[in-house]
Amino acid sequence: MRRSEQSAAREIPHHFATPRQAYESGKLGMWIFLATEVLLFGGLFAAYAVYRGNHPEVFVYAHRFLDARLGALNTLILITSSLTMAWAVRSAQLGNRRLLTLLLALTLLGGGAFLGVKIVEYEHKWKHGLLWGEQYRPHHPETAQEHSSAPEIPRETPPGDRTNIPPAAIGPPGLASSTDEERAAHASAKEPRNVHLFFGVYFAMTGLHGLHVIAGLLVIGWVFVRARGGAYGPSNFEPVDRAGLYWHLVDLIWIFLFPLLYLIH
């Protein structure tokens, strides 16, 4: 294909009749792709539901080892980066190149900060051996003594004490609960079996989400480089739009992950 043809083809690929047809095709394709992404996570959400249903005590016990404040911080960062991304799409539509590059840079920064916080969290889990499956070797200061002998719950214990699921009358403490004392108090109570299932689910879900954040950053980074070269304008903003849709999906999935893993009792 010759150069002159190529630049014309950027407006409408040769197999489309009208720009509108090309635009709507691209949009429909992107939405279907996003649906497949949701279903990819859908399997993990189903696994979460199954294991939570089968082992509620594991989830109640283990979620306290996640730091809800860091999770909340990450939620804030990701929502803000979604805002800057949406704004970037708008400025591409309006042809404001400087604002576009600035906002894309901010979005990249937000994604990077999210990953940074994630690394801090992972590092904490790693240090304390709070890992998945076979790798689960907890030596959290509060649980170290308990784990060596799996606590047998005596038969004569009153039914109320056999579980560490709090009674329904006690409301969820939300973000305010995760003080070290409370965690220690709870953790030293008794550790249910198969706690590693929670961390298996946690690392699978946040890990896959993290991979999506990295993919999103690569896409936005590519858009950023092209935006600095002035590739986008009012008639040609689709790549920014598509990258934005993808980023919003990544954000949306996190908005489900955060309460499911960090907050719900």
């Binding site: 095709s25 279903l39 399997g43 076979e134 590693h196 690392f203």
Partner: protein
């Protein structure tokens, strides 16, 4: 439109050299590359099948030991399912035919289309590598916990299947968008050729089910590499959950296989009966109904896995409901043939085989869908025979029918009718010989996958193996005929069969851009206005002929 084929610049001659093929954006070339790759894997899978049948000729060791046998039947299954039968019709014929049938210049995303072919190649390489690394011995379903503990190359095989899944998703996205946005003037949804309705329904399943397989295989890989414990009962995980996840994709996947085959049937039966298709809307909507129902029946693969009785009963009842849209199609095809002037050309022979074999396959499915009989027949050769009748008797036969139907369009050459019919006959005979005996021995209790068996099953195994060799001969005849036609075949007219869908309105083989202007679409099954022209050996529109 004048039926001549002498077009200097067609898609085959548009560029030369390896790069012009391997990096082409032309959907027709991508379709041809898919066809070649898929046919290669059909032969590879068939080779493994011959090894299995030869081994089972006598009880005990015949040509290989038990471990090798386990690997060979796993490879047969995995290669046939992931590399041949799922991509088969949609990727090869869908890619080639869909845009031309729509009167479009290309699919909506040509680059994505090329990417999906490249992903197919990469996924195939992973699978072949796992063969070389010491093949997988889990069966193609990779059931946990065995698949996480066996010392064979499960990871590269499942990674291959994961990549192939992406290829399938991208093809599905492309087809949905193309059909939604690129239909020509005059082609309303109710004038969409039925093959495209079938591809559309298939694409919906591909897009909705494949990601779930993707995450399942990813979890399996993580389980194997890192010991995540999600499917490992020793760690509190649930191996039956793996089966639920796996079949949530893999049951709809059998409709990814069969729906395009049914679409091919609608085209073939109408064209070769020279009659308007009967019950167009019923056939079209039943495709969508099958796509929807396919998601509700996966539990029938787990009747004996210890899921709840209530679950079993619900899945059993839902399973029967799939028979309704399937039967709607079969009865409409029969009604189309009724009082038609049927021509027994090679594609039609395959269509008739399909009706009989798929009928047997479908009816024996009822034995397996019913709880009481399934408990007896579960994991016997009855199941093997059942899914070979539907998958091979259905999909493979339709694949061969489609290949003979569109061959003149794809390559501009006619093959020998006589050799084509001979091959079709041999396929039919060989197939029934191979698999009908398996119904009998399965109902008498011969378990599937076993390396050894009781002496009293030997006569059936011998019959089955003879049938497999007949099939092999049939494939040699078939391939020889088609390859011969590429070099020596008579030049094909634009419309050799008298079909009214749009792909027959352009030359054979089609020019690089299919159509300069989007053609006006009419009723795709209005065959009345086409008349045979002796001089070119094909059909032309009545108006063009009278004008001349």
């Amino acid at each position: 439109m004048n039926g001549s084929t002498a077009v200097a610049d067609n898609y085959l001659s548009h560029g030369r050299g390896f790069r012009s093929w391997f990096f082409t954006l032309d959907h027709k070339r991508i379709g041809v590359m898919y066809l070649a790759s898929i046919f290669f894997f059909l032969i590879l899978g068939g080779f493994f099948a011959m090894l299995i049948r030869t081994e089972l000729l006598t009880p005990g060791r015949t040509i290989m030991d038990a471990d090798t046998y386990n690997q060979v039947f796993t490879l047969h299954g995995a290669v046939m399912i992931f590399l041949f039968i799922i991509p088969g019709i949609p990727a090869a014929f869908g890619n080639f035919v869909l845009p031309v049938m729509l009167g479009a210049k290309d699919v909506a995303f040509p680059r994505l289309n090329l990417l999906s072919y490249h992903l197919y190649v990469v996924g195939a390489i992973f699978s072949v590598v796992s063969i070389l690394l010491g093949a997988v011995d889990t069966g193609w379903t990779f059931y946990t916990p065995y698949s996480t503990t066996t010392h064979t190359s499960v990871v590269s095989m499942t990674l291959g299947a994961f990549i192939l899944g992406f290829s399938s998703i991208f093809t599905g996205i492309n087809f949905i968008v193309t059909i939604h946005r690129m239909r020509p003037p005059g082609m309303s949804w109710n004038r969409l050729p039925l093959f495209l309705w079938a591809l559309y329904s298939t694409a919906i399943i591909q897009v909705l089910a494949t990601p779930v397989l993707g995450i399942t295989l990813l979890l399996l890989i993580v389980e194997r590499l890192l010991g995540i414990g999600i499917f490992d009962p020793a760690l509190g995980g649930d191996p039956v959950l793996y089966q639920h996840f796996f079949w949530f994709y893999s049951h709809p996947a059998v409709y990814i296989m069969i729906l395009p085959a049914m679409g091919v049937m609608s085209e073939l039966i109408s064209v070769f009966s020279r009659k308007h298709i009967f019950g167009y809307k019923a056939i079209a909507y039943s495709s969508v109904a099958i796509a929807v129902l396919s998601f509700l029946v996966w539990g029938h693969h787990m009747f004996t896995s210890g899921q709840s009785d209530l679950g079993n009963m619900i899945f059993s009842a839902l399973t029967f409901s799939v028979a309704i849209p399937s039967a709607i199609k079969v009865f409409n095809w029969l009604a189309t043939m009724y009082k038609g002037s049927i021509r027994l050309d090679t594609p039609m022979l395959y269509a008739l085989s399909f009706l009989l074999l798929f009928g047997i396959g479908g009816l024996t499915g009822l034995f397996l869908g019913a709880l009481a009989t399934d408990v007896h027949l579960h994991d016997t050769y009855f199941v093997v025979a059942h899914f070979h009748y539907t998958m091979m008797g259905g999909v493979l036969i339709a694949f061969l029918g489609a290949m003979h139907y569109w061959w003149p369009k794809m390559f501009g050459r006619m093959y020998s009718e006589k050799a084509g019919r001979l091959a079709a006959f041999l396929v039919f005979v060989g197939f029934n010989l191979t698999f009908f005996s398996q119904f009998v021995m399965g109902s008498q209790g011969m378990p599937r996958r076993y390396y050894n068996y009781l002496d009293r099953f030997q006569p059936y195994h011998v019959l089955s193996t003879i049938g497999a060799y007949v099939l092999a001969v049939a494939f040699v005849v078939l391939a020889g005929n088609l390859i011969h036609s590429l070099f020596r075949g008579r030049k094909a007219p634009a419309n050799p069969w008298g079909s009214a869908t749009l792909e027959w309105m352009c030359a054979s083989p089609p020019p690089h851009d299919n159509f300069a202007e989007p053609p006006e679409a009419g009723d795709p099954y209005d065959l009345e206005h086409l008349v045979y022209d002796e001089s070119i050996g094909g059909y032309v529109p009545r108006t063009a002929r009278e004008g001349a």
